[in-house]
């Protein structure tokens, strides 16, 4: 029986290295055989206190393929939440109806709190700018699948490294696997010192760059994120740096043959369309992997895998 039975997944650091690998191994089984009705007698609640169609469909597709029944809401309009019911009361009520709660909520820390109030396990599907651990798990899955291993890789993270929570989680998770980090961002959007400290504490190295071209020959993985105009107090500064974090197909000459480009999606213009046709683009498959990873998490937490 999995050590993950009955556990919550709120933050990526709630799991250890062995547990990451366990989830990825189970997910591999679901990729081979996606329809396994192992949750046929279970009810999964998907509570979306803010809309996120992409994440919700991925969870619901995963639950459906496992045969689970789904209850919940896709945005709080028209529910008791909108009438002012506290998160506490909503979670207490739902945990008496469901075997597992998947929650997205714009308030930071809401998922941790829900897990303390709930009598059934909680999976965090995003709590504001704080954590989105299933995204990180599918990133790990995509890296392992394309590289054949998670160990000793050259991981480049590009774009908004300051506010991008997916990058913070990915760096923290990859600290378990002897990665070397190449951090490409405008000066204003560098990785926060607390995350750099995680790298140092793991005894690993990171290098910082402002031009994406500098990391193309070294990287095994290029993890792209969006640089938002709103992050810059001075619009001229945005104009000056915006192209330094845009990836085009012609820039990929001279990259490693095993290199893959990942992106948490949705992208805007940080990866040009001509990259899609190269063998290095992996972001659409990456999103698809989310279903297998979420199947694995739900079945491990509910104790059927």
């Amino acid at each position: 029986m999995s050590t993950l039975k009955g556990r919550n997944l709120i933050s990526i650091t709630d799991f250890n290295k062995e547990e990451y690998i366990e989830v990825l191994d189970i997910a591999e089984g679901f990729e081979k055989t996606p329809k396994q009705r192992v949750l046929a007698d279970k009810v999964v609640a998907t509570l979306f206190f803010e809309p996120s169609t992409r994440t919700r469909l991925s969870f619901e597709s995963a639950a459906n393929q496992l045969g689970a029944r789904i209850i919940g809401f896709s945005d709080p309009g028209g529910t008791s939440v909108q009438k002012g019911e506290s998160l506490h009361d909503t979670i207490v009520m739902v945990s008496s109806y469901a075997d597992l709660i998947v929650m997205r909520n714009p308030k930071e820390g809401s998922a941790r709190y829900a897990s303390e109030v709930s009598t059934v396990p909680v999976i965090n599907a995003g709590d504001g700018a704080n954590q989105h651990p299933t995204q990180c798990m599918l990133d790990l899955y995509s890296i392992r699948k394309t590289q054949g291993t998670l160990e000793n890789l050259q991981i480049a993270c590009v774009g908004d490294l300051k506010y991008g929570r997916t990058v913070h989680s990915l760096v923290q998770a990859m600290c378990n696997f002897n990665a070397t980090f190449h951090l490409v961002s405008p000066e204003e959007l560098k990785l926060p010192s607390s995350v750099k400290m995680s790298i140092k504490n793991a005894g690993l190295k990171y290098y910082q760059y402002t031009d994406l071209r500098d990391i193309i020959p070294t990287a095994d993985i290029i993890y792209m994120t969006r640089v938002q105009r709103e992050r810059f107090p001075d619009p001229l500064e945005y104009e000056r740096v915006k192209d330094s974090c845009i990836l085009t197909a012609s820039m990929l000459d001279g990259c490693k043959h095993n290199m893959k480009v990942l992106h948490p999606l949705p992208r805007v213009n940080e990866i040009t369309m001509d990259v899609d046709k190269t063998p290095y683009a992996y972001y659409f498959q990456q999103a698809q992997n989310g279903v297998y990873v979420r199947q694995a998490l739900m079945s491990a937490i509910l104790g059927v895998k």
Partner: protein
């Protein structure tokens, strides 16, 4: 010097003296220790002359003895306070406060988007840097620092 202070705030026979409180932190200390509701003599002085701080606050609480853990909470606002335990007018223990590893319930999270600021939830923090006073919220995982520290009003 010492006898002059005793004139301002009288001695107590049994209980606890909290000395060397920064003047700005006096009422926060009272609040953190819940002394507003304490049903016995509490003697309070503020802006008293102090060799150590220039001006200081002092609180004497009759018939109340704190554990080191209880009293450690005040170190967040009064990091150099001296705690003196008194029995029969004599000092039985004397120590300075130490910043604890965790605090619950009385610090407000500095992150306006934190769930603890929109629902009635007791806050919880790990103190990750005692020198620069940096607290990590158990819920939103963001940091509250010396500059953003606010004591919850209840």
């Amino acid at each position: 010097m010492d006898s002059k202070k005793e004139l301002v705030v009288p001695r107590i026979e049994n209980g606890t003296v909290i000395d060397h409180i920064p003047t700005v932190a006096l009422y926060q200390v009272i609040h953190i220790l819940g002394l507003e509701k304490y049903q016995d003599q509490v003697l309070i002085g503020n802006y008293l002359n102090s060799m150590k701080l220039g001006k200081k606050g002092i609180i004497k609480i009759n018939n109340k003895h704190f554990t080191k853990e209880e009293i450690s909470k005040i170190a967040l606002v009064a990091p150099f306070a001296t705690i003196i335990d008194i029995k029969d007018f004599a000092v039985t223990d004397k120590f300075t406060t130490e910043i604890p590893d965790h605090v619950e319930n009385f610090v407000k999270c500095a992150n306006p988007k934190c769930i603890t600021n929109s629902e009635q939830i007791a806050t919880r923090f790990d103190i990750v840097d005692k020198v620069n006073l940096k607290l990590k919220c158990h819920y939103c995982e963001k940091f509250t620092t010396k500059d953003t520290l606010v004591i919850n009003e209840k």
